[in-house]
């Protein structure tokens, strides 16, 4: 997967912008998080006979303008209003070391998460293991989302560069990227989600 350099990012902040149609779309295969890896016996027992992680494909495109990275994320499944938990999507990058995505990183190998929730926008989180995510580093982030009742189209933007706990995303360099989707209609939250199984190489054009 790569992020193509464009002259100006502004138009791309709109998930319905015609500009996105010019960009290469990657089809990321998603799978349910394994039940055995859910962190508490209550979650494992109570959800054993219930479906989660049913979003099997996430469409991703990305551009940047040297200052800001934009990721367009699109998937099928829009929860009706009034659910207890919102539809959500997350983009993950390794901060340092070689964190295992499925384990949400470890004490010294952090994962930087940009999580968007329907109705709430995007926030920065830092994960150091399953159940060990906390407020992440401050950086310039934004999101816009559109849905047509069936499909979400979300654009998440973040400033390029790196910093303490800000995962490095630097033009001319390759990093790794991962994804997760939560479906509100299935009461998905925490580790109940679909995810991209492993890191995907992510090259940022110079």
């Amino acid at each position: 997967m790569k992020s193509r350099r464009v002259k100006d990012i502004e138009a791309y902040r709109n998930p319905l912008a015609a500009e996105w149609r010019q960009e290469t779309v990657e089809y990321v295969k998603m799978a349910a998080t394994p039940m055995a890896m859910q962190p508490t016996a209550y979650i494992r027992n109570s959800r054993a006979n219930m479906l989660h992680g049913q979003v099997s494909e996430l469409q991703v495109a990305s551009v940047h303008d040297g200052e800001t990275l934009a990721l367009a994320l699109s998937w099928e499944g829009v929860a009706p209003p009034g659910r207890d938990f919102p539809d959500a999507v997350a983009v993950t990058f390794p901060v340092r070391g070689n964190p295992i995505l499925m384990l949400m990183g470890s004490k010294n190998d952090s994962i930087h998460i940009l999580q968007w929730k329907a109705g709430k926008g995007v926030r920065s989180l830092l994960a150091n293991g399953i159940g060990l995510s906390d407020k992440g580093p401050e950086l310039k982030i934004a999101s816009r989302a559109e849905e047509d009742g069936k499909r979400w189209r979300v654009v998440i933007t973040r400033v390029l560069g790196q910093g303490a706990n800000v995962a490095p995303v630097v033009p001319g360099h390759e990093t790794k990227i991962g994804f997760a989707v939560w479906s509100g209609i299935n009461d998905e939250r925490a580790g109940l989600k679909s995810f991209s199984l492993d890191w995907i190489p992510f090259a940022v054009d110079a």
Partner: protein, 367 residues
């Protein structure tokens, strides 16, 4: 496992359903945003739906040590708070005005329930109708299903006294705790997006002051102390005299609130004469407090008889609570004295669950 366990015994023979405990708690702890529907202390009429409505059928807890699936009570299940229409009713000159503001909307929607909507309805048929009151708080369980369910380790059981607290800084509002708690005593704050519940007035306990609900109770219903303190009231009622029983012990969480089950008036026969049969069905009490109910009721009855015949009874003295402060174990200090000695106290934020500790002084307790 905590080193000590603070606990409460409630004597249901003395609860008059006045809700002073509920108001004491509400005034002290649940006046922040998003807390309107929260009554960490509730008093329900039994038999009844309880609060949240139908909580005994919402699952959770443990069976054979295994966590059981539970359901999240909604805000409406707890009873949505409403505003009162005092101005219009008392000064508006409209004789059709309801005390309940937005009465029409309330009466037609799903939010028609209040926290004790079936107050005093009870069970049985006249002349053998009956009811009693069941006050409830968080049980600060020895085996807390909420704590074990939380994927974020946001719930802790304090080592020094076993009080179970939600750390709102760690809570992500996933609400697994609400599902797992079989007593449905955890509330969700939709404004702050965190779970909240009874904190056993820990800032007061830390200062040697008993909980607001126990200190304010006009009926002297609530005993507070350590479960393993042989000189305290809890140990005596639970372990020595064995007259205080856990509610729904079968839920498997080892609750630390215990109840002295209610004695009952006799059933009347067709001619209106009292019979030997209890008006509150024993089976019903056993469904709440387990198989030892009859043994406990028999014991209380026999101790009553001893006192009636002029003998002494430590159990009756204890239950009568002639000496009010004896009900509170080591927590006998007056809140006023604690506040004047230390008007502002800084507490470790990781333990406070964002509680405004200064509010310990809010309730001016009776002296």
């Amino acid at each position: 496992m905590s080193k000590k366990q603070v606990a409460m015994v409630m004597d249901l023979n003395k609860c008059i359903g006045c809700h002073t405990c509920s108001i004491a708690c509400k005034t002290l702890w649940t006046r922040r945003e998003g807390m309107k529907h929260m009554w960490w202390n509730t008093v329900n009429t039994q038999p009844g739906e309880g609060s949240p409505h139908g909580w005994e059928n919402m699952g959770g807890g443990f069976r054979d040590g295994e966590p059981q699936r539970g359901f999240r009570p909604s805000e409406a299940d707890f009873g949505t708070a409403w505003d009162f229409n005092h101005d219009e009713v008392f000064h508006g000159g409209n004789e059709d005005a309801f005390l309940h503001a937005n009465y029409g909307e309330w009466n037609s929607g799903e939010n028609w329930k209040g926290p004790n909507w079936d107050e005093d309805l009870g069970g049985g048929e006249y002349p053998n109708s009956y009811y009693f009151y069941l006050p409830r708080i968080c049980n600060h369980c020895t085996h807390p299903a909420c704590l074990e369910a939380c994927p974020r380790k946001a719930i802790e059981k304090r080592e020094e006294d076993g009080i179970v607290l939600i750390n709102e800084d760690r809570c992500s509002g996933y609400r697994f705790c609400q599902e797992a708690c079989p007593y449905k005593k955890i509330y969700f704050n939709e404004t702050l997006e965190v779970s909240q519940k009874c904190i056993f007035c820990f800032p007061r306990i830390d200062e040697g002051v008993t909980t607001a609900c126990s200190r304010q109770c006009p009926g002297r219903v609530r005993f507070v102390g350590y479960l393993d303190d042989p000189d305290g009231p809890i140990y005596k009622l639970v372990h020595e005299h064995k007259v205080a029983l856990p509610l729904h012990a079968e839920y498997g969480t080892q609750p630390n609130v215990f109840y002295v089950p209610p004695m009952s008036s006799p059933k009347m026969d067709a001619e209106g004469n009292p019979t030997d049969e209890s008006r509150i069905p024993l089976e019903y009490l056993e469904s709440l407090f387990g198989p030892r109910v009859k043994e406990v009721l028999d014991k209380i009855e026999s101790e009553r008889q001893r006192v009636a015949s002029g003998e002494e009874s430590e159990l009756m003295d204890l239950l009568i609570s002639r000496k009010w402060l004896d009900m509170f174990g080591p927590f006998t200090k007056h809140p006023r004295d604690v506040v004047s000695a230390s008007p502002v106290r800084i507490v470790d934020p990781a333990q406070t669950a964002k509680v405004d500790v200064v509010r310990i002084m809010d309730i001016r307790s009776k002296s």
